[in-house]
Amino acid sequence: MTLPFIILAVLTIAAAVAAMSLRNLIHCALAMVGAFGGLAALYLQLDAQFVGFTQILVYIGAVAILIVFAILLTRGGQVPEKALFSSSWIWGVLVTVAVFGTLAWTIKNSFASQRVPAERVEATVKEIGDALMTKFVLPLEVIGLLLTAALIGAVIIAMRDEVKK
C-alpha cells in the first residue's frame, strides 16, 4: 500500500463515520462532502480522471447542495433534542457487522489479492465519448429518460398542494 492511498483512505473513512454519527445535520452533510471528495481523489489515483471530476461536479456541486437545501427546508439546522438513533438500532448494527464480515471474508479468500493492475491504462474523454455514442448508446438514452422523469417527478412530489376551500 502506498502512502497517498493510506492518507486518502483514512480521510474518507473518517469523513464517512462523521457523516453518519454527528449530531448536527448540516455537519453530517459537510462531512459527507468530505467523503465524496476523498472518493473522487481515489478515482483520480486509479487513473479515472473523467469519473473523478464528474464525481466532484455531480456530488459536491449538485447532490450536496440539494441535501443542505432539504435540511434547511425541513428545519434540520437546529440540533435535534431527542435520541439520535432509531429504536431498532441494535438490529442495524448486527446486520452491518454481518455484512461487513461476509464482504471482508470473501475479499480475503478471493483471487483479488493476486490481481495485477494493467500496465498503463488511459480512459481519455474521446474514448469515453465514442463508447457512449456507440456501444452504450441505449443506456445513455435510458438515463436521459430517467433524469427527465426524475426531474418532473421531483417537482410534482415537492409541489405545494393547492389549498382546497
Binding site: F100, A112, I128, A131, F136, I157
Partner: protein, 103 residues
C-alpha cells in the same frame, strides 16, 4: 501500487458505514446520505476492478460508474422531494414517527 484487495476492503468499509447509518439513524435525510455512501462504495469497486482488469480499454467499469452517478443524482432529487413532502404532511423527518399509511 496498492493491491486490489486494499481498494475492495476500503469500499466494503464505506459500504458498511453507509449501511449502519441508513439502518440506525432516525432522520430520513441522514438515511439518504447513507444510501448515497453505499452507492459510492459500489462505484469505487467498479473503478478498482476496471483498473485491475485484463481489458481496461473496454471501459465497462467507467461506463457503469458514469451511469451510476447519473442514477444517484436522480435518486437524490426524488428522495429529497419525498422527504420534503413527508415533512409537510407529518411535520417531522424522523423515520420512526412516520409509520402510518393513511393520509
Amino acid at each position: 501500487m496498492t493491491p486490489l484487495s486494499a481498494y475492495l476492503i476500503l469500499s466494503a468499509m464505506i459500504f458498511a458505514i453507509g449501511l449502519a447509518g441508513a439502518l440506525t439513524r432516525r432522520n430520513a435525510i441522514i438515511v439518504l446520505i447513507g444510501i448515497e455512501l453505499m452507492l459510492n462504495a459500489a462505484n469505487l469497486n467498479f473503478i478498482a476492478f476496471w483498473r485491475f482488469s485484463e481489458h481496461p480499454e473496454a471501459l465497462t467499469g467507467i461506463m457503469f460508474v458514469i451511469f451510476s452517478i447519473g442514477i444517484a443524482a436522480a435518486e437524490a432529487a426524488v428522495g429529497l422531494a419525498l422527504i420534503i413532502a413527508i415533512y409537510r404532511h407529518y411535520k417531522t423527518t424522523n423515520v420512526d414517527e412516520v409509520n402510518s399509511l393513511r393520509g
